[in-house]
């Protein structure tokens, strides 16, 4: 953010002083301020896309690992409500982050937005926040069961469960940061 401005500074040694400054809000002054703001918005956009992509990757991994985690007998994820919860939330998060990342990539490619910006900002923020809460909830609910199982047996079933839980926790981290960025975007909507 500040790196760009230090680079841009030598190119415009004398920014217009006077009327322009008093009309712009407190974020920047004159042309350099506007340029700085554009670069920051671009950074925010890329960061948001990267975090959602990471969230999608980790959710998908959690989904695949947990869904393939049945080895007969008691070693079947379908026999435990915690693991079913983990799977359900992994599917939901995969769909949500996948759809959002796809939409964002399309928008960056086309260079325009297909939905009203305020609706989009609200859906973005509440979606990210709710999915983050669901992910941490699912991961937390499955950890004690897995801990207890590993005291008795340490095999491919418990290892796969741990892996799926870890992936879900990483997806939570990505979504929590994405919710921060979405909150920032929502706050820069002009109606507030």
């Amino acid at each position: 953010m500040t790196d760009d401005t230090t680079k841009a500074a030598p190119e415009s040694p004398a920014p217009p002083a006077g009327d322009v400054e008093s009309q712009t809000p407190a974020t920047g002054f004159g042309v350099t301020g506007i340029l700085r703001r554009w670069r920051r918005e671009d950074l925010v956009k890329r960061g948001s896309l990267a975090l959602r992509g990471l969230g999608f990757l980790f959710s998908l991994l959690a989904f695949i690992v947990m869904a393939s985690n049945s080895h007969g007998g008691w070693e079947d994820f379908d026999k435990y409500e915690e693991y079913r919860y983990v799977l359900a939330i992994a599917i939901l998060s995969t769909l949500y982050t996948g759809a959002q990342a796809l939409r964002q990539a399309q928008e960056m490619h086309a260079g325009k937005q297909f939905f009203p910006p305020l609706t989009l900002a609200l859906v973005d923020f509440f979606g990210d926040q709710i999915v983050a809460y669901l992910l941490i909830s699912a991961a937390s609910s499955a950890i004690p069961l897995t801990n207890r199982m590993r005291q008795g047996a340490d095999n491919i079933f418990t290892d796969s469960s741990s892996a799926a839980i870890s992936m879900e926790f990483l997806a939570f981290i990505a979504l929590a940061f994405s919710a921060l960025i979405s909150g920032y975007k929502l706050s820069t909507q002009s109606y507030i």
Copy 2:
């Protein structure tokens, strides 16, 4: 900060119009806009205090109910890591929300802030958000164990555990909304 200004408003029925307007950011126009903004800030402050008060109440209840939940034999919260986690997070949340509500009440009484506003806004937002994540995590981790116990026995131990978990979930709801308000406050800080 804003309390002084709302109190001061009737004493100066004709505030200077003109220069003042052009300096304010884009939120409102003229005197009505400024008044509207003051009222909204007052509402935000009261809402934040009320939510933190609720969060304190529910956390304290969860703490008391869980800490007194030992009836000998297997009916002892200390024997289960999930319930110890619930207790630990209830204590942490009680301390955090209590301290924050106390500080806010003092500030509203004194009509001024004792800390730099940006530091305060950052601590507020990240504190609320992190405590909300911890609360939903603790509540989620203890629910499956309690469910399984209640299939075998439905007595005062399982009932108290359920009550503590419910209180912790309500505290989570309060903190999640408080984090929304803190995020709004952070976004209105002028540096952004």
